[in-house]
């Protein structure tokens, strides 16, 4: 007998198919079999009561760091995939800055093998742009693509050479690979550790202006136009970058962009108020209230395609140190939904747009399966309780690390069930059966 799950009574929000209303969702043989107001209940079917909740396509995160191979004390493919499904994410794209970096088939295969063994979220590796992430020679995009990489990126390191970036965008066209970039001009970054402004001045910390990002965004938009390549801008944080992307899209260039939950909700003044908390140190840094407004507007109007967490686990060894010395990054998989839902509650973002930015939009940007509950789509589903209040308890996190700005904070909105390929892989308040 085939495995059937019926999710009943929930509000189905599926922007890709234009569905928004109470429906039953039938999952069968790993696929979405039906979405309808009334469905039959075959005997033996698992029935999930989703009344009062949202039923959405499983979230897709184009930007996570799973740290394996090499830094398993921070995260593994399995622990990261577990954190993903706990946050409603059914697919993640893991960045190549592992140790060794993912610039060869062997590393790609290892990540895929670990992901298959974990059997939780779908894990899509992202290969390097440059061999060794050294910024000099191109990595073997063809072999990485064949092995399962869905994009290339030197994430964490900007591609400083415009010549290399040009060739990467050109060469990637042969494989339809998006070239995902961490945009910062390292000369302008200098020794900076936070956004440059009144807050960095008060704290006496070296600042990084938003223009360090904007000048690279402008450069790469020009190169996307030159090459016809697919440019994906990672973790956009500056108002100037949002303006540049809006203009590029108006001109019809193949440019997509992502923004993180923290860049949508926190500012440099939060760093000052925290008293040098390294839990608020990341790259790019938390920016001004004006930049945050521009990012939220850009997300709402579609200039910024999607929300990506830049889930970046670090241990206390890297974080319980001076602000200058702390590594960049925060975890985000388990808190993305409630943190972004706060934007909906204050009227800055529509509910459907939020779901789209977490599902259909990232799927489109990287040409990934899923992101919709259309009949025949993979049975990747999140059930979300938008009213659930809970405390993000660092000790109970599924990630191996707890370097989160929301550690110990009360949050509203929580994923209660996650299905990947029709299998229940997460249930809040208890392990999945």
């Amino acid at each position: 007998m085939s495995d059937v799950t019926i999710i009943e009574g929930g509000r189905v929000i599926d922007p890709a198919s234009g569905t928004d209303g109470v429906r039953a969702v039938v999952l069968k043989d790993g696929l979405v079999a039906d979405v309808a107001e009334r469905v039959e209940r075959p005997s033996g079917a698992r029935v999930v009561d989703a009344r009062g909740r949202w039923v959405t396509p499983g979230f897709i995160d184009l930007h996570v760091h799973l740290r394996e191979p090499g830094q398993e004390y921070k995260e593994t493919v399995a622990s990261g995939a577990r954190a993903a499904v706990a946050g409603g994410f059914t697919a993640v794209v893991c960045m190549p800055n592992t140790k060794p970096v993912n610039d060869t088939l062997a590393v790609t295969e290892l990540i895929l093998a670990r992901a298959a063994a974990a059997g939780l979220a779908r894990v899509y590796p992202c290969g390097c742009i440059s061999r060794g992430q050294a910024g000099e020679d191109l990595a073997e995009f063809g072999e990485l693509r064949a092995g399962g990489c869905v994009a290339v990126s030197d994430d964490g390191k900007p591609v400083m050479s415009p010549a290399l970036m040009r060739r990467a965008l050109e060469y990637a066209r042969a494989f339809s690979l998006p070239v995902a970039v961490h945009e910062e001009d390292l000369h302008l970054v200098g020794q900076g550790v936070m956004h440059e402004g009144a807050a960095s001045t008060r704290l006496g910390l070296k600042g990084i202006p938003g223009q360090a990002e904007e000048v690279m965004v402008l450069r790469d938009i020009a190169l996307a136009e030159l090459t016809g390549g697919r440019l994906h801008l990672q973790h956009v944080s500056a108002a100037g970058s949002v303006r540049a992307v809006r203009e590029a899209k108006r001109r019809g260039l193949q440019v997509t962009a992502e923004v993180t939950p923290h860049h949508l909700t926190l500012t440099d003044e939060d760093v000052a108020a925290s008293g040098y908390s390294t839990g608020l140190k990341m790259s790019p840094p938390l920016r001004s209230a004006e930049d945050v407004r521009a990012c939220v507007e850009g997300l709402a109007d579609g200039t910024i395609d999607c929300i990506a967490t830049d889930h970046a686990p670090h241990s206390s060894v890297e974080k319980d140190v001076e602000f200058d010395a702390a590594l960049n990054g925060v975890t985000g998989l388990e808190t993305a939904f409630p943190v972004c839902l706060a934007l909906v509650r204050r009227g800055a973002l529509g509910e459907r747009r939020l779901v789209e930015a977490l599902s259909a939009a990232p799927a489109r940007a990287f040409s990934l399966p899923g992101g919709t509950l259309a009949r025949g789509a993979p049975a990747d589903v999140a059930i979300l309780d938008p009213a659930a209040e809970w405390t993000f308890d660092a000790a109970a996190t599924h990630s191996r690390s707890s370097n989160s700005p929301w550690k110990g904070r009360r949050l509203t909105g929580r994923c209660t069930h996650t299905f990947v390929g029709g299998r229940l892989v997460h249930q809040a308040g208890g392990e999945a059966r």
């Binding site: 009144a198 008060r202 910390l205 602000f323």
Partner: protein
Amino acid sequence: MIGRQKHCIALEDFSREEILQVLDLAVSMKEVLRRPIKKVPSLRGKSVVNLFFEASTRTRSSFEIAAKTLSADCLNWTSASSSVTKGETLIDTARNLEAMRPDVLVIRHSAGGAPRLVADHVGCAVVSAGDGAHEHPSQGLLDCFTVRERLGTLEGKTLAIVGDVSHSRVARSDLHAFPKLGARVRLCGPPTMMPSGVEKLGCTVHTDLRAAVEGADAVIMLRIQHERIGDPLIPNTREYSKLWGLNARKAADWLKPGALVLHPGPINRGVELSPEVADGPASVILDQVQNGVAVRMAILYLLAGGDAAEAKA
């Protein structure tokens, strides 16, 4: 305690009353330093640890003399390494020192926020002796003390701070302290040395030295560090000195009579200050050094558990 402050880390956190509490007590402390026997038993049995991650002779010596004048035991712990260079972490170093039960930990560190991090992990009082480009609270207090001593009050006075404000912890502490005591602050220097948004701290920003110092009651000249030249914040010290250095002619033409010249030291003679000005009648640079000991005595006394009334008795 200084008012509600258990530590002395940032004058940004200090109220006017807390600043005045230190300055007023420092007046009595300065009197102690003028006695033939420069020792009082106020902190006998207490211990002060100087934990210095950055080279500093004058500030460390000043804290050491302050502690010893009050009869506290004083230990100097100098560490060239920090967690930046992958030695013992700052928190581990601080906890190790705390296990030796000091009453006050005086810390200097190249990273802004380091004293705050230490304070969050130890039980004793923490005094910042300068952290990165953040603050140097005892210097800010001694600058206030010095100007107030000479001018009687800071109420309605105008202070000009000239130089590399972006890298200066002294300027930040002065910027927080002087306005709380009623003074206006003007900043001056090349735009490359003015940190972003600094005008939001309640000061005016000038590029023209004359506009900044004319009519000012006191001028604080900051040290120009030679490593800034290649940054590149300024073309060279020659041009800097011409445009933003204070020499005898500019001082005579632009400073109002009785205006004070301060410098946190060490001076680059011929760069930010000409020798005639540094050694001239307007200079209170050596007063600053002596007042620094008195102010640090007051800070240590208050944080090591003394109370102001007893000290004056």
